[in-house]
């Protein structure tokens, strides 16, 4: 769940930065800081696509004890 919120927040923050840059709300002075943050968010999002969220066996065990 936490991860889900994280990547959802990540893309929201990322898209906010994009719109800020596109709207010209970012000055050249803080541009590099924002671009750095954006690339970090892009990395988080891309990782989410290919990373396994939860251990299947853990869920199965929970099923057995259910």
């Amino acid at each position: 769940m936490e991860n889900k919120i994280n990547y959802t927040k990540a893309i929201q923050e990322l898209e906010k930065i994009v719109s800020e840059i596109e709207q010209g709300e970012i000055t050249i002075d803080i541009l590099s800081e924002k671009v750095k943050r954006a690339s970090e968010l892009i990395r988080i999002c891309k990782e989410k696509l290919t990373s396994t969220e939860e251990d299947v066996s853990r869920i199965l065990e929970e099923l057995k004890t259910d």
Partner: protein, 447 residues
């Protein structure tokens, strides 16, 4: 009826009829009793149309509260089928198919080999809603009245639905298709599927699927979505998906439900209330992958936009900087030109002015020289006059002139005498006169 009489008589004699004698008897009874056609209403559970021969052998059922009460095989001969089906399509815009209720005109037929069947000679297409459809409508109405119908559809599917609780049968083709597509996707998207086995058709499917939905609901935090996957089975027994209890359980599921029940009949109520009905298991799988694509595209778009916007900003900044530099140069150049002109002007003035100055000074010098000459001459004249005056005075002081006027000078020991002190009688003195000298000896002196 002669058959029954014969039967009882024969049984007492322990003798037997042949099977064909029996079937001939049955045929005689049935076709004798049902000699004229009837109007019957029933549902086509399965159409069984054979395009090769053109004949159709529909499975006809009657249901009550989801349970099958009666079932009979029908026969529609190729000629009849063409005419009936064409008429049916004309009226309902749908071909004859499974899952529909029909009102048909039929002859009850018995065949010694193929058994009892209903030979359908006409269908009334205006009678389209059968008991199944009515049940379905009732289910829908009930769910709507309870405010549940849209409930599952309102759940938000996570951006990346990667943890899927699958309600299916492990050995079914639908399930293996579904898993294959998800696990062998070309983009490396990671899905976690957990199978919750259940019966997927027939009357028992209602409790089976509903039970698993409840189990999944209790551990909803581990999953992003539920997929009901069925495929490879026939289309009979799907009315469980119109069942109120099952449809209700789907609406109550805390996770979005995706359906891939894989059939060609009308949309079932479960599919209607599910958050996403993708019809086939493969389509559910592709739909999930599409969500990943969508997310991936969003991320890529951000990446590209940031790149292009940043480049644009930097270029603009560079352009501004260059523009600034250009203007600075231009301004500086102008300033330098301006100052240069001033200097040149000042220079040319300087060249001209010293001449003037020199002239001025020269004039002043010349004037001063003139003045000096004049002054000197004046002085000379003055001095000449003074000299002349002095000369006059000097002339008056000349001893010769004094001596001429009767004065004389007495010298003692070569010096003029102004005082008698120191002189004693007997000292010789001499006196100079205007003309000549006299030498005397002092006889007496007085002071």
């Amino acid at each position: 009826m002669s058959l029954y009489t014969q039967h009882s008589a024969l049984s007492t004699q322990h003798s037997a009829l042949t099977l064909s004698q029996l079937t001939a008897g049955i045929q005689e009874v049935i076709e004798g009793s049902f000699s004229s056609p009837f109007w019957i209403k029933a549902e086509i559970a399965k159409l069984n149309h054979y395009p090769g021969s053109g004949h159709c052998y529909p499975s006809l059922v009657e249901k009550e509260k989801g349970q099958i009460r009666a079932e009979m095989r029908g026969t529609i001969w190729a000629n009849d089928f063409q005419r009936i089906n064409a008429n049916f399509i004309k009226v309902t815009r749908e071909p004859l198919k499974e899952g529909i209720q029909i009102l048909f005109r039929t002859l009850v037929k018995y065949h010694p080999v193929y058994g009892l069947s209903l030979q359908i000679i006409d269908i009334d297409p205006s009678y389209t809603l059968g008991e199944m459809a009515r049940e379905k409508i009732e289910t829908i109405m009930k769910l709507r009245n309870e405010g549940l119908f849209e409930r599952n559809k309102q759940l938000e599917l996570p951006l990346l639905p990667k943890r899927i609780a699958v309600i299916s049968v492990k050995t079914s083709k639908g399930f293996s298709d579904f898993i294959n597509i998800l696990e062998n996707n070309n983009w490396g998207y990671a899905f976690t599927c957990v199978l919750f086995p259940a019966l997927l058709q027939g009357d028992k499917a209602v409790d089976s699927i509903a039970g698993q939905l409840k189990v999944i609901g209790r551990m909803a935090e581990h999953f992003d979505a539920v997929a009901i996957i069925r495929g490879g089975g026939g289309d009979v027994g799907l009315n469980c998906y119109d069942h109120y209890l099952l449809a209700r359980e789907v609406t109550l599921c805390p996770l979005p439900v995706l359906t891939g029940i894989g059939h060609s009949t009308n949309e079932t109520v479960v599919e209607m209330v599910a958050a996403y009905n993708k019809i086939t298991p493969t389509d559910v799988a592709y739909f999930l992958i599409q969500q990943f694509h969508n997310f991936s595209v969003r991320v890529k778009e951000c990446q590209e936009k940031i790149l292009s916007s940043t480049m644009k900003m930097l270029e603009e900044e560079k352009r501004r900087w260059e523009e600034g530099c250009r203007r600075l140069l231009l301004q500086t150049d102008n300033l330098i030109k301006l100052e240069k002109n001033k200097l040149q002007l000042a220079g040319s003035r300087l060249q001209y002015k010293p001449g003037l100055l020199i002239n001025e000074k020269q004039i002043r010098l010349r004037n001063m020289a003139d003045w000096l000459t004049m002054r000197v001459n004046q002085l000379f004249v003055q001095k000449d006059q003074q000299l002349a005056l002095l000369d006059e005075k000097l002339k008056l002081l000349d001893p010769q002139l004094v001596l001429k006027r009767g004065y004389s000078i007495t010298y003692f020991e070569g010096k003029p005498l102004m005082d008698a002190t120191g002189l004693k009688p007997g000292d010789e003195i001499h006196t100079r006169l205007y003309h000549g000298k006299i030498y005397s000896e002092i006889k007496l002196k007085s002071e």
